[in-house]
Amino acid sequence: MKLDEELMVWRQEWQSSAMVPPDLIRKVERQTAYMRVLRMAEIAVTMTIGSAVLVGAFVHPMLGRDYWAVLAAGTWLLIAIAWAISLRSTREAWSVASHTTASYMALHLRRLRQQVFRIDCGSAFGTLASAFVLVLTYKVLTDVLRRRGVAIDVWDFAPFWIVGGVVNVLVLLGQFGKRRRVRAELERVSEFQRRLDNPPNGDVGR
């Protein structure tokens, strides 16, 4: 069989399937709508949390204004850090104009490195945020209870600290696992990029 005939036969065999699972296109359409909502939701959540603590700082009747001031300042600081990490980790991630496979692999490698950075920063950020919330909640509760004549010790809150600590450790373990997976993918992509850059030679097949 001539080489081009062989390719033509394979093409016919390959293209003999022209069916897409019936619901798949509709599923994709639903997802595109969902993504639009998600994008708006990110901004909405930031604005809602930020505004809520500011409003609380001025109008909440139960707590002292000092706590609300600390909560508002801390919340906005954490929001700023979260957005800074997010922007830093996606910087130039979409900047390659022509995505040939070669340039896309370079871009993908950069994205994976940024993902590792995001995981590292996210872990530190998560620990910082939860410590902030735990300490502030403890302070607010002790203050409220003290005003009602109930004296409490730091160890009375042991379950509260333990649950907070355990949740944090679990989240950190999850992040550690994710980091390992991303590092492994990074190595596979680097290896593929090396093979793509070098014209094939040597033995045929693996």
Partner: protein
């Protein structure tokens, strides 16, 4: 943009679905990959300036996504699950034989190393050397070398199976 996206998906859906067979093992994995590709096209569509043909634009995105999808997980041990049967529409050749050949070819392509699978899948979809070179970002001569090598590998796989 929404209409354009739907048109593109309707026109290229079957080719994209076939492409997923080269890179994904199970049916659900193929569905995931198809959705990933479609969403990537949807995101990239506003930036499409018609500097390249629509077909190379679509295949470029699809293959890039498919390659990163494959690299996300460890290489699979079993290459032949989740392959789809061809159209049941009647033709001169018996449907069963056609289905068998189609499945055999999909399974063989899936056994190739990624850098060869990439080129042969594009060639099987009917892209020319120059179009494959544009999609992959390699020279036409490099496309030729890879395609020849991929065909040799496929022949060997078929020989071993016979």
């Amino acid at each position: 943009m929404k209409d354009r996206f739907h048109e593109l998906l309707a026109a290229n859906g079957p080719a994209l679905w076939r492409l997923t067979a080269s890179y994904a093992r199970t049916h659900s994995d193929r569905e995931d990959l198809f959705q990933e590709i479609a969403l990537a096209i949807w995101k990239a569509l506003p930036g499409f300036r018609e500097l390249s043909s629509e077909r190379t634009f679509i295949f470029r995105i699809a293959h890039n996504r498919a390659i990163t999808h494959s690299l996300r997980r460890r290489p699979a041990a079993s290459p032949s699950e989740g392959l789809d049967p061809p159209d049941p529409s009647p033709g001169p050749e018996s449907g069963l034989l056609r289905a068998e050949r189609h499945i055999r070819l999909q399974a063989a392509v899936r056994q190739l190393p990624l850098e060869f699978r990439h080129v042969i899948t594009l060639a099987l979809e009917g892209l020319t050397y120059s179009e494959i070179a544009v999609v992959a970002g390699i020279s036409e001569s490099n496309v030729g070398v890879r395609l020849n090598r991929a065909r040799q590998m496929l022949r060997r796989i078929f020989e071993v199976k016979q």
